[in-house]
Amino acid sequence: MAEQITDATFDEVVLKSDIPVLLDFWAPWCGPCRAVGPIVDEIAKEYAGRVRVVKMNVDENPATPTKFMVRAIPTLVLFKNGETVEHITGAVTKAAMAELLDTKALA
């Protein structure tokens, strides 16, 4: 399972990470978020040690989504060296997530 982070832990976990971070903004009542949630968990397992994959519940953590102008969920944001590299909104396949990580995070 991908680790859940909060507004309070965001800087430490995401911005100060030594490796790229994929952040999944989600909420429990969001159907498309549930459609990708298990895929995000699989990606977390497969990229362990290479990309840190984390999730943030936007209901409980309003500050970070606002800061990154997230106005739709699910939104996946890829961070590298504390900078945003890419964001994807909407449910995407595992293959699309893997391609994003292979080309933008690990290249």
């Binding site: 909420a27 159907g31 498309p32 459609a35 990708v36 949630g37 939104t75």
Partner: protein, 308 residues
């Protein structure tokens, strides 16, 4: 390569039901789903019209419940998108996840996804004010001004949903009359302080660089244009099928939905279609499930004849 009796593509209500019927009757089934099982049910807040749940059921709960029906049944599951289908009855070849799968029949249950509006900036502003899911994203627009475009039930339902959250909802429709239920329209028309209805109106432009700031509206009759400042735009202009992975010989209607007979048989023998991907009027979770059962039954009969 092992040939499955049936390759079922899509694990929404249609595909899950078809796979369940086929597996229970002793047929070998491989079920393909690119996302998590449930299909559009997952993106529905609450289903009040699915029989057996008189108090309604949350979309994600129904998705889980449907999926649970496959537990313990001999169904192979491939969590990948299908790239192509070729071959003929008895020996179809399906390509997914860099592999080939062989099947005697193919049941297409891939549903439909939201149709895009087709206005410049729609892709760029997706997730920056443009949305296709009020349930998902409405909360980001609490106390703000939003627009909903469309004339069917989805547009009306979502406009009602958003009227509880946003400060102002503008409902935009290109025609005078709405296709959606009158009961919904009546409710919206009564909320004159909060809901503004713009008929015979189209959106010609989306404004904003990194977030949506407004729309250019054009009256379809007079041609007059005006600017409407909004923070969010929710698009409900119908659904589009995806049949690009199927052989061209599968007959589709003008909108791209698969034409079948009442037994869900497509124009190519051995290919069946069920649910929203099919050319028909009524697209509901329950009719998708019904289509799935019918398609499975038609596939049994087809397989029997194939064995003769």
């Amino acid at each position: 390569m092992k040939a499955f009796d049936a390759l079922v593509i899509g694990a929404g209500p249609a595909g899950i039901t078809a796979a369940m019927y086929l597996a229970r009757s002793g047929h070998s089934v491989c079920l393909f789903e690119r996302l998590t099982p449930g299909g559009q049910v997952l993106a529905t807040e609450n289903l009040e019209n699915y029989p057996g749940f008189p108090k309604g059921i949350k979309g994600y709960e129904l998705a889980d419940t449907l999926n649970a029906h496959l537990e313990g049944l001999a169904v192979d599951r491939i969590p990948h998108a299908v790239e192509s289908v070729s071959g003929a009855a008895g020996q179809f070849v399906l390509h997914a996840d860099g592999r080939d799968f062989s099947g005697k029949t193919v049941l297409v249950c891939t549903g439909a996804s939201h149709r895009k509006l087709g206005v410049d900036g729609e892709d760029r502003l997706l997730g920056r004010g443009v949305s296709y899911c009020a349930i998902c994203d409405g909360n980001f627009f609490r106390g703000q001004s939003v627009a909903v475009i469309g004339g069917g039930n989805s547009a009306l339902e979502e406009a009602l949903y958003l009227s509880n959250i946003a400060a102002k909802v503008t409902l935009i429709h290109r025609r005078e009359g709405f296709r959606g239920l009158k009961i919904y329209l009546d409710r919206l028309e009564k909320m004159t302080d909060k809901v503004d209805i713009q008929r015979n109106t189209v959106i010609t432009n989306l404004h904003g660089e990194d977030r949506l700031t407004g729309l250019t509206l054009k009256n379809a009759r007079s041609g007059a244009e005006k600017y409407l400042a909004v923070d969010g735009l929710f698009i409900y202009v119908g659904f589009a099928p995806d049949v690009t992975f199927l052989p061209k010989s599968v007959e589709c209607d003008a909108q791209g939905f698969i034409v079948t007979d009442t037994e869900m048989r497509a124009s190519v023998p051995g290919i069946f279609a069920a649910g929203d991907i099919r050319s028909k009027h009524c697209r509901q979770a329950i009719t998708a499930a019904g289509d799935g059962a019918t398609a499975a039954q038609a596939a049994f009969l087809f397989l029997e004849q194939l064995h003769v």
